[in-house]
Amino acid sequence: MADDLLAVSGLNTYYGGAHILSDVAFAIGGNEVVALLGRNGAGKSTTIKSVMGLVRPRSGSVVYQGEEIAGDEPYRVCRRGIGYVPEERRVFSELTVEENLEVGRRPPRADASEWTPERLYALFPNLAERRRHPAGRMSGGEQQMLTIARTLMGNPRLVLLDEPSEGIAPLIVEQMAMVIKELKREGLAVLISEQNLHFARIVSDRAVIIEKGAVRFTGTFADLDANPDIAQATLAL
């Protein structure tokens, strides 16, 4: 569709000789939250990295706001307004929380209110208490919040969230769900990769299911519930 914020099509990505993504295609609307679902090793992270330019796809197209960005360097992709939250968190452990936010800081967009550390501390109260602590000494959940806050400092239009609910306490997962809904309210688009169907259902509008590097299903959760065998076959339930 012409009004899609991001449209991926025919994406093929390799690691060495291994063909990981085959003809992956999906789209995200301007204020939509899409869940990229799939089992361990299905290719969710690879899809996100291919969009971000962290892995160079061998063929295919990634169109963002009407422009082809496939093969662009990550920093250019980021500067266009795509924020990336990696699954391994990758906080700068020797830097303080404040300094981590500083690394992510980019100029504000004209059409949206700017993310400042103060606004982010309001959204993530745990971080406020720890602003002068080295990030490496925080709990996994706090680090996960920090990576999201750090990415938001770049004032992105679209956020790619790789498995935000993985390996963190249930209480924090709830907080994470709240944050994603808040982002939608702010007018952002979000792509979250998930294995947890329950969490995906709470936060997202639509699902894209990927299995062995290929898209198996695209549609609403109602569509998905109407065909229970799809979820059964492609997700670890």
Binding site: G17, M52, G53, F92, S93, V103, G154
Partner: protein
């Protein structure tokens, strides 16, 4: 009492100089992951430029300090040029390939300096206003030394301030930890790398410029300082500025007192301290495991066993070599034996580097051990050539067993540095132990047995080399070789499935050492003499360059690399300014074929014959 205090102050003054150089090196490594062999050259350049400015400006203390800062700024600009024109093009090349490029830069700066300032040592004036000595506890202390003692901590303070309080500093610290993530957050790494390289170059230039009132400026400054600078960076932890400061003080103060007890110690003391620190703390005093590795490894294209055509081609090459004595009896045969020695030496390094994934900066140690053992067997034990030859690989294997045992406990750059330390210690011992090794004079008269004429020796060397290469191939493709590769690509997984990786790596290290020893033996009898240079850093770097230039990933790499190296060196050393030409050739190869000569040739081959499979690699 006064004397010891004076000695301490001298040590601290030296520490300041050393810190400036090492801290620049550490910052460059932290951000760009480049092991900058040209860092000593930037230091030397700073000294030469400062000499010129100080001797032309004559404007009292202000003129002196302005000259020093200007020189550092000029060197920073040179650094920017190096980074933008050369290094930027090869950041995606395999880890350590940039090291070869910086070695090319080192050669070019050597000759450029020679062309501009001449070969004579230059003695600069004392620093105006600080040209006297003050008496402390009755001992005269140069005022300038006291100034240096202040300058070191001041620079440390300034850098710390910049790193904590500016956005640039925060980005540099973040990039030292995870460059890719910094890029994904929208930071243009090119700009960050260039500026970090410039800061490093500035500090090196500053260190050099500040040295002008203390010592004469000479063309030896680059290599004389680079070894110690590496040691300091490693002891402190790669990428850690504070670590470099502490390490510089430890090394310099120990040195100042060490020479009182044992004057010869200064050659090896820094390396001895580094070896001890690394054994106790594998990532230096303030380093982290993340600091050990450069770029993430590129998945290796699957190995293809030598096919029919390859075997035929190899046989033809050997036959062609075997026919050499028919067409020539003198010069070419000598050159060919040099070539065999280089090929075997490089191939043995390939075995631990390419197959084993352990980078050695000190492989010449085992070459030299082999050469010296054979030479000593002839000269002191009076053995004939053939039995004496056996001593070479034995001694080399023994040395590799001792040093390798420590080395395989480390990884990445730290492992490489410990191999360098080992080689440097052996070199120091050889250099100093006059009564046994002849010291600087070497061992002369190690000629082949009378039955081994030039042709016979040529065939002997050819046969030994072919057997050595076949052995390396066999090892690389044996289950043992596959285990080594598995450990290289994912050490944790190898350990998890119950493989004693360290034992395998240790054995690999010993075999590679023994083979280097064989190359050393061939060398000793070909030249009729052995000198400490066979163990020196320069010789280790030669081997590294052969392997990296050729391509680390296949055995063809060292064959091409050694051949290119020997032929180019043979041709170019007859010219004036050969270092410049040699350096330029190295840079050209680096930029044109970042996957090495073997990789470049196979890319050419695919251009000519499309349809051959190509392996993708992550961007």
């Amino acid at each position: 009492m006064g004397f010891y205090f004076a000695q301490l102050l001298t040590g601290l003054a030296n520490a300041s100089s050393l810190f400036l150089i090492a801290c620049g090196l550490s910052i460059i490594f932290g951000v760009t992951r480049i092991v900058n062999f040209a860092h000593g050259s930037l230091y030397m350049l700073g000294a030469y430029i400062a000499y010129t400015l100080v001797t032309t400006i004559h404007a009292g203390p202000f003129g002196f300090w302005a000259s020093v800062l200007l020189s550092a700024a000029a060197v920073a600009l040179v650094g920017a040029v190096i980074e933008i024109l050369i290094l930027r093009r090869i950041y995606r090349a395999p880890e350590l390939f940039q090291l070869v490029a910086t070695f090319g830069v080192l050669l070019i700066i050597q000759d450029a300096t020679l062309a501009i300032w001449g070969a004579e040592d230059l003695l600069g004036p004392r620093a105006p206003g600080l040209d006297r000595a003050v008496r402390i506890f009755g001992e005269p202390i140069p005022e300038y030394d006291l100034a240096l003692i202040v300058i070191g901590p001041v620079v440390l303070g300034l850098i710390t301030l910049v790193f904590r309080k500016t956005r640039w500093g925060v980005l540099v610290r973040a990039a030292t930890q995870d460059r890719e993530m910094v890029g994904a957050l929208g930071v243009n790494q090119r700009w960050l790398f260039t500026s970090a390289f410039m800061l490093g170059a500035f500090l090196a230039g500053l260190g050099g410029a500040l040295q002008v009132p203390r010592e004469s400026v000479s063309l030896l400054m680059d290599l004389s300082v680079i070894g110690e600078a590496f040691v300091v960076v490693v002891i402190g932890g790669m990428g850690s500025v504070g670590g470099a400061f502490v390490a510089a003080i430890i090394i310099s103060v120990l040195n100042a007192f060490g020479v009182l007890v044992f004057p010869q110690i200064s050659l090896i003391l820094p390396f001895l301290v580094m070896a001890i620190v690394l054994v106790v703390r594998p990532y230096g005093l303030f380093g982290s495991p993340a600091s050990a590795h450069g770029a993430p490894p590129v998945p290796e294209a699957p190995m293809r066993p030598l096919n029919q055509a390859g075997i035929v081609a190899m046989t033809l090459v050997v036959v062609a070599f075997a026919a050499l004595p028919v067409v020539d009896d003198g010069f070419i045969l000598v050159l060919a034996v040099d070539l065999f020695v280089a090929v075997l030496f490089a191939a043995s390094l390939h075995l631990i580097m390419g197959v084993g994934g352990m980078v050695s900066f000190g492989h010449a140690a085992y070459f030299g051990l082999g050469a010296y053992a054979a030479a000593l067997a002839v000269k002191t034990l009076g053995l004939p050539m053939l039995p004496a030859m056996l001593f070479g690989p034995l001694a080399a294997a023994l040395g590799a067993a001792v040093f390798g045992w420590f080395c395989v406990r480390l990884s990445g750059v730290y492992l490489a540095m410990l191999t360098l330390a080992a080689a440097q210690i052996l070199w120091g011992v050889t250099f100093q132990w006059q009564s046994v090794t002849g010291g600087d004079d070497g061992i002369l008269g190690v000629w082949p047995a009378s039955w081994a004429s030039r042709e016979v020796y040529f065939y002997l060397a050819l046969a030994v080399t072919v057997v050595g290469l076949a052995l390396i191939r066999r090892i690389a493709n044996s289950p043992f070789g596959y285990t080594l590769r598995g450990g290289r690509d994912s050490p944790t997984r190898a350990e998890a499935i119950g493989i004693d990786l360290k034992a395998h790596q240790w054995l690999g290290f010993i075999i590679a050492g023994a083979l280097a020893g064989v190359a050393g033996v061939l060398f000793a009898f070909a030249k009729g003499s052995v000198f400490p240079e066979t163990l020196a850093i320069g010789h280790s770097i030669d081997a590294l360059i052969m392997v990296l230039l050729g391509g680390v990933q296949s055995l063809l790499g060292p064959l091409f690399g050694a051949t290119a190296f020997v032929l180019i060196e043979d041709w170019v050393t007859r010219l004036d300014y050969w270092r410049f030409i040699f350096g330029a050739i190295i840079l050209l190869i680096c930029i044109a074929a970042p996957d090495g000569i073997a990789g470049g040739l196979s890319r050419l081959w695919r251009l000519v014959r499309p349809g051959t499979p190509r392996s993708g690699r992550p961007a």
